[in-house]
Symmetry: C2
Subunit: 129 residues, 2 copies
DNA sequence: CCTTGACTTGGATCGCGCTCGAAGGGCGAC
DNA sequence: GTCGCCCTTCGAGCGCGATCCAAGTCAAGG
């Protein structure tokens, strides 16, 4: 069952997002989806564009180091509705700061690695003279 | 036994590096040290400044996502001596590129998170008017 | 019909990187 | 001496995040 107008199969979503079908089911079971994708007549998942957008965002949260548990917390708040927007924003702000720190740390580490590379470079020059 | 001139206890190294004493022993067993720290008369490890510098660098490698196995490979090359500098440099260059990519990805993710935060911000403004 | 193949659920298993605990040695302070 | 503390080795256990397996359903094609 391909495409079916505005719904995607799990294989299609896997292809689109880079996640495995296994991972997509796992995330759903773990409560990371904002809403459970409805099942078709055959019991197969039918992802909407909305689902896809959500998965893309949760992938960013995961990719920046947010734990499954914390993403679930965020997803729960989304499910809980409008009244939770302040807390959601706070979660993102806190996470945002962690990511910014992580970037700074990585830059620093990168500089240290580059310094080492430079030493090897100079070692080569020396032997070529 | 504190300090003892130019050697450090495992507890001191742990304090300096932020690693646990457990982790330091684990790294050593896993072959991540450039050279095994010598033992004192009581069998206790005595780390040199050289060891400390190495641990700091390996911490950067680990912190930037290099696996234990890959750090071990690098450490093995260091132990193998001068003839391996070209390969060592190559490992660092390859890793360096991965780290740079990771930073770019994180920046991109950060922008997406900031975008979301902005949406919450605007939502608040709307309700305050 | 019967196979093929994508999907379903539930639970077991895995890899990584530590982390912890047990059992014991050595040494200084009281 | 014996208490307390830091160290030793060895091996078991843990948390996380998937990943994989088993058994089954369903639909389409030959």
């Amino acid at each position: 069952m391909i495409g079916m107008s505005q719904s995607l199969t799990i294989a299609e979503v896997a292809a689109e997002t880079g996640l495995s079908a296994h991972a997509l089911r796992y995330y759903e079971k773990a409560g990371l989806m904002r809403e459970t994708p409805p099942r078709g007549g055959n019991g197969h998942r039918r992802y909407t564009e909305r689902d896809l957008a959500w998965i893309r965002f949760l992938t960013r949260l995961r990719g920046t180091g947010m734990s499954i548990a914390d993403v679930r917390r965020y997803a729960e708040l989304v499910r809980a509705g409008e009244s939770t927007t302040a807390e959601r924003k706070q979660i993102l702000l806190t996470h945002r700061e962690e990511v910014a720190k992580r970037i700074d740390q990585l830059k620093d580490d990168l500089a240290a690695i580059d310094y080492k590379i430079d030493i090897y470079e100079k070692l080569e020059e020396k032997y070529q003279l």
